[in-house]
Point group: C2
Chain length 135, copies 2
């Protein structure tokens, strides 16, 4: 399906109902929720199964309570994360990926793992870049 | 290679030299360059071939000159984008993906296209979420 697109954002491609390259397209917002500072890691962390808020927070190193809460709300509103409140005392809330969220998370994790596996090359490129700048 | 990981960020998984879920890992920074507000769209736009700065800026709707410049510098430093200055008058600067950048862009585009294709479901989920909130 993506192979018929000449290139993303091509203004002459009439076949794109949604186009994240266009400023006004609603898919832009969802892309930002999924990839934004914490969205990608939150989706990735949930791909192993449902987690409670504090478990998730430990999994996503460095995220604040406020930022994780905002991230989860945006992902829930977009239909990527399901929030399940158990009628227990104290109340217990679990977060899990929806089927759509699993599909998104699979692609996000493919990118995360690729970058993790490429870090030796990335760090060499940074050294080389910084050395050129210092000349 | 990714199939042997029990889940991303698992503290008991000893096989991960880089782990974007860990706050201090340098792969976290690269993930943010690639997925951050403009990184994903910049990589995606360059996947069709090299572009000049202003061509790229038109392709990535809504990006400011300053933000595109910062995004390109970060991607260049990470070895994902190559900047080629032609010795012409006026000087002409082309940006293109490196082989590593192409690999990253392929994964980013897979995510972008998936989200674009899922927007009908996302917008329905938002309506339903907002209706629940209004009850």
């Amino acid at each position: 399906m993506t192979t018929t697109r000449r290139y993303p954002g091509d203004p002459e491609d009439p076949g794109l109902p949604y186009n994240a390259f266009a400023k006004e397209c609603p898919s832009r917002g969802t892309l930002e929720h999924v990839t934004g500072r914490w969205g990608a890691l939150t989706l990735g962390a949930l791909s192993g199964g449902s987690l409670r808020f504090n478990e998730l927070r430990r999994r996503v190193g460095g995220v604040s309570e406020k930022m994780l809460s905002q991230t989860l709300h945006a992902l829930e509103r977009d239909g990527l994360v399901h929030r399940e409140a158990q009628p227990t005392n104290p109340p217990r809330v679990d977060y899990e990926l929806t089927p759509l969220g699993h599909e998104a998370a699979r692609r996000v994790l493919s990118l995360i793992h690729f970058l993790e596996d490429s870090m030796d090359d990335v760090l060499l490129a940074r050294e080389s870049y910084d050395a050129r700048g210092a000349r």
